[in-house]
C-alpha cells in the first residue's frame, strides 16, 4: 500500500462522507504538516509485511461470521471511513488489541471473549479506530525524534511507527484515543457507559490473569484504573441511553470464552485458568461446564493435592452439566492415576455411553482393557 494512494483515498472518504453526529473530525491535517515529508508509505509497507507474516503463520482467526459481525460494528462507528479500517481477530487468549498504520485493527480473541455486549466491543473498536484515524503512529515522541534525526533511514522511522502501533502509545495518546472512542461510541448510538464497563471488566480480568493494573509495558502509559477514571469523568453527565445489543454479541462471540480457556490450557498457562475460575465474579461469566477446564488445569499442573482438586472440579462440572462427556473421561484418567480402578471403569463407561466413537475414545478403550486384565489377574 503506497502512501499517496492511501492518503488520497482516506482524504476523499473523510471529506465525502458525513461523520457520525456531534463528533469532531479526527483528521487534523494542520498538526501533521511537519510530517508531510516523511516516508509514510514505508510505514504502511512495513505494517503490510507484518500482517502478511501473521497470516502465513496461521495466527489469524478464521471465523468469517464473527469477523463480519465485528467489521459491521466498526463501520457503524466510522461510517465515513468505509472499508478503510479492517478488523481482524487473532487466535490469542490474552487481553490485547492494536491498530496498524495500514488501517488493520487486530483484536485478540481472548479480549472479545471477556466482553458482555456489542456496546463494550464497540468501545474497544472505537479506541483502536481513533489511533488509526488520528494517525497516532506518527505522533509519538520517539517517532518524531527518529524522523527528525534520520531522514535518510526511513526503515528506522517506519519501525518506530509500527512498534508503537503494536506496543501501545504514551499516556496522552492513549487518553486521547479513549476520549475520542467514547465520543464516537455515543455518536454511533451505543450506550457510552458500556465503554466504562468494558474497561472495568478488562481491569478485573487483567488483575486475575496476573497482568496487573498496568497491562502495558511502559511506565509512561496510563494504568487501566486511570483510564477508567478518565472515562467516568466524561460520561458522568451523559444520560444512560443507547444500544447495548447483548444478545447479538452473545450469538456471534459467546463461544470465545470456552475457546479462551482451551487456549490457556494449550499454552500451559494453568495458573491463569485457576485464577480465572476461582474469581467468583469472573466465573459467573463463563459457561456452566467451565469447571472442567479448572479440573484440567489442576490435573495437568500435577502439584501436590492437584489430583484431588481436579476430581472436585470435574464433579462440580458434572453437577452443573451432567452429560458433559469430557469430564467423565478426565475423571477416569485421574482415578487411573490414583489406582481407583472401579471408579475409573465406572466413569469411562459413562464417557463411552456419550462418546463411543470420539477420537480420544481409543485411549478409554485401551484403559478399560487394562482394568479388565487387572480384574482377571
Amino acid at each position: 500500500m503506497k502512501y499517496p494512494a492511501t492518503f488520497v483515498l482516506l482524504a476523499i472518504l473523510a471529506s465525502a462522507c458525513k461523520p457520525a453526529q456531534n463528533v469532531r473530525p479526527f483528521y487534523d491535517e494542520s498538526s501533521l504538516k511537519h510530517l508531510k515529508t516523511l516516508e509514510e508509505s514505508r510505514v504502511h509497507q512495513l505494517a503490510d509485511e507484518f500482517e502478511g507474516d501473521l497470516y502465513k503463520a496461521g495466527a489469524v482467526h478464521q471465523d468469517r461470521k464473527l469477523r463480519r459481525y465485528v467489521q459491521g460494528v466498526m463501520q457503524r462507528l466510522f461510517p465515513e471511513m468505509g472499508n478503510a479500517i479492517q478488523v481482524k481477530l487473532l487466535k490469542q487468549p490474552g487481553l490485547n488489541a492494536y491498530a496498524l498504520p495500514n488501517g488493520s485493527v487486530y483484536l485478540y480473541s481472548g479480549l472479545i471473549a471477556r466482553l458482555e455486549n456489542e456496546a463494550q466491543l464497540a468501545f474497544i473498536l472505537a479506541h483502536e479506530g481513533a489511533h488509526f484515524v488520528d494517525r497516532h503512529y506518527l505522533r509519538t515522541k520517539e517517532y518524531r525524534k527518529v524522523s527528525d534525526w534520520v531522514y535518510a533511514t526511513p526503515l528506522l522511522v517506519s519501525q518506530a511507527a509500527v512498534f508503537h502501533a503494536l506496543a501501545g502509545y504514551s499516556r496522552d495518546l492513549e487518553s486521547k484515543a479513549d476520549q475520542l472512542g467514547i465520543e464516537r461510541l455515543k455518536a454511533a448510538g451505543y450506550d457510552p457507559r458500556e465503554g466504562v464497563a468494558a474497561m472495568r471488566i478488562l481491569r478485573q480480568e487483567a488483575l486475575a490473569v496476573g497482568e496487573g493494573d498496568d497491562a502495558s509495558a511502559y511506565a509512561s502509559h496510563p494504568t487501566l484504573k486511570q483510564r477508567i477514571e478518565l472515562l467516568e469523568g466524561i460520561v458522568q453527565n451523559w444520560p444512560a441511553h443507547g444500544d447495548v445489543n447483548a444478545s447479538a454479541f452473545g450469538q456471534a462471540a459467546g463461544y470465545l470464552r470456552d475457546q479462551t480457556l482451551q487456549q490457556y490450557l494449550a499454552s500451559d498457562q494453568y495458573q491463569v485458568v485457576i485464577n480465572l475460575m476461582w474469581n467468583s465474579r469472573i466465573r459467573k461469566q463463563y459457561p456452566a461446564h467451565s469447571d472442567f477446564y479448572l479440573g484440567e488445569a489442576y490435573r495437568r499442573r500435577g502439584q501436590k493435592y492437584d489430583l484431588d482438586l481436579a476430581i472436585d472440579a470435574y464433579q462440580k462440572c458434572l453437577e452443573a452439566v451432567p452429560d458433559y462427556a469430557p469430564a467423565y473421561k478426565a475423571l477416569g484418567f485421574v482415578y487411573m492415576k490414583k489406582q481407583q480402578w472401579e471408579m475409573a471403569e465406572q466413569v469411562f463407561s459413562k464417557y463411552l455411553s456419550y462418546k463411543p466413537t470420539a477420537d480420544e475414545a481409543a485411549y478409554v478403550y485401551s484403559y478399560l482393557k487394562k482394568i479388565a486384565q487387572r480384574k482377571g489377574e
Partner: protein, 184 residues
C-alpha cells in the same frame, strides 16, 4: 512453526558437526544403548549425543526421521512442572505436545492435532500423534510421533516433512522403521 525451525536448526547444527553415513543394506540394523531399529535403505543417518539418531533421504532441511532416547525427567525438564513416573500414555502425549508448544512465539496456535491415540512402540504402551505445523512461510508440515516411557527413559520416533510431496512419499519408510523398533 518455530518448533520446526528449531528442529531444522538443530539438524543443521548436527549436519555441520557430524558425519552422515549412508544406509547401504536393506536390512541394516542400528543399535542404540537401549533399542535397535532397522534403517531405511539408501537414507543417510547421523547420531550425536545431543540430538539423537537422525535420518534423511534428501536432506534434513526437507524431511527427517528422528529417534529420541532420553531420561524422562530430562526430556520434559523444560515444562518446569512435577513429572509423575506413573504417567499414562494419554498424559505422555500431553507432555509431548506441551513441550512442543512451549515456545512463547508459538503459543500453541500453529500446531494442529490431527490424531492422538494409543499405540505400541517396541511392544510397549505409548501414544501416536499426527500433528500439522505451519511454517512462517505458510507451508504445512506434517509430523508423526510414536512415544513411549520405559523405566526411566522416554523414547520417541518422529517423522517431519512438508505435507505436500515429501510426507506421503516417505511415510511408509517411517512406519516400517517404527515396526522394526525393539528394546534391548
Amino acid at each position: 512453526m518455530r518448533c520446526a525451525v528449531i528442529v531444522c536448526f538443530a539438524l543443521f547444527l548436527s549436519a555441520c558437526n557430524s558425519v552422515w553415513t549412508p544406509v547401504r543394506n536393506a536390512d541394516q540394523v542400528y543399535l542404540g544403548d537401549r533399542y535397535q531399529v532397522e534403517l531405511p535403505h539408501k537414507w543417510l543417518y547421523t547420531n550425536t549425543k545431543n540430538t539423537g539418531l537422525t535420518l534423511s533421504l534428501d536432506g534434513p532441511y526437507l524431511h527427517a526421521i528422528h529417534v529420541e532416547e532420553a531420561l524422562y525427567l530430562e526430556a520434559f525438564r523444560s515444562l518446569q512442572r512435577p513429572l509423575s513416573k506413573s504417567v499414562l500414555p494419554s498424559e505422555l502425549a500431553e507432555l509431548y505436545l506441551a513441550r512442543l508448544k512451549k515456545s512463547p512465539e508459538n503459543g500453541g496456535v500453529n500446531i494442529e492435532t490431527l490424531s492422538n491415540r494409543p499405540a505400541l512402540l517396541g511392544g510397549q504402551d505409548g501414544f501416536f500423534l499426527h500433528l500439522r505445523l505451519k511454517s512462517s512461510d505458510g507451508l504445512d508440515v506434517d509430523v508423526l510421533v510414536y512415544g513411549v516411557l520405559r523405566g526411566e527413559h522416554f523414547f520417541s520416533l518422529s517423522y517431519t516433512a512438508p505435507k505436500l510431496w515429501y510426507f506421503p512419499r516417505d511415510k511408509n519408510s517411517f512406519e516400517k522403521m517404527v515396526g522394526s523398533f525393539r528394546f534391548i
